[in-house]
Symmetry: C2
Subunit: 135 residues, 2 copies
Amino acid sequence: MAKIDLNKVWALDYRLVTSVIVEVAPALRELGIECKELFLLAELDAHPHPAVLAEALLMPKPTVTMYSKRLQSAGFIARELDSTDLRRHRLSLTGDGRKVMTRGLALLAAAFGRRMNRLTAAQQAEFKTLVEKML
Amino acid sequence: MAKIDLNKVWALDYRLVTSVIVEVAPALRELGIECKELFLLAELDAHPHPAVLAEALLMPKPTVTMYSKRLQSAGFIARELDSTDLRRHRLSLTGDGRKVMTRGLALLAAAFGRRMNRLTAAQQAEFKTLVEKML
DNA sequence: ATCTGATAGTTCAGTCCTGTACTTGTTTAG
DNA sequence: CTAAACAAGTACAGGACTGAACTATCAGAT
C-alpha cells in the first residue's frame, strides 16, 4: 500500500469544510447569526458553561464571551449565575435561539448533505466512522 | 441502513480540521507565517495568479492581496507583472518562501498524520477517496 | 478608433477575532 | 483562618479579515 500524501488529503478535507462554510454563510447572515455563532448555539445544550464551551469549540475564551454577549443581546441565549459556583455562568437557549439554531443547522445539513450525497449510504457511514476514529 | 446524522458528521469533520489548525498555528507563527498564509504558499505553484488563487483557496480577493503584500515584504514571494496581460500579476515563491512552505507543510502533515495514524493504511486510502468524491 | 462590458487587482472603512492582562470568586495547604 | 494557587469570565487594544467601491487593462462589437 503506497503511503498517501498527507498534505493532499489535508487540503481536500480543509477545502471540503471551508466550502460548506462559505456556501452557508450568506443564508446564516440573513437568519441573524454568523457561522461560528451557530456552532456555539449548537453546542450550548451539551456545554452550558463558557469555559467548557470554548474548549469544545476550540476557540479562545474571549471569543466565547464576545459571541455570548451578542447572542444574548439578540435574544438568542440567556445567562444566569450558577448558584453552586459563583464564578460560573450558565448559558441557555431561548425559544428564539432554539428556532434559529434549528434553521441554521438545517441549512448546514443541506449544504453538507449535497456533498455527502455523492457517496453511497455505506460510504457515508464509513466516512462517519473514519472521522470519529481520527478525533 | 439508517440515515446518518449530517450535523453530527459535519461537526466531527469541522472539529478535525480545526483541531489541526489550532495545534499547528503556534509553530507556524515561529516560522513567521500564519496558517492561511501557508495555504496560500502551498497553492502558489499551481495557481500563480491572485484571482485564481483566491478562488482556489475560497477566500475573497482582498484577503489574497493583503497576504501577498505581507508575504512579499517578508521575502517569501515575488511579484511581477504578466507581460501578456498587464492586469495580471504573477506570484512566485522565493528560495526562502519555498523553505518556509516545506517546513510548514511538514508541520501540518505531522499534526494531521497523528490523526490519520489512528486509521489503518487501507482506511487512510479510503478516507482520501471519500473526501475526493465529495468535493 | 472608440465604446462597452468584463476581468485583475487594490484601497479603504469597518467589523471580527484574539492575546494579554485583569477582576472576581473558589479551593487548598499549612 | 489565611494566603497562595487556581479557575471563570471579562476588558481592552490591536491586528486580521472582508464587503463595497474603485482603477487599470483587456477583448469584442460597432
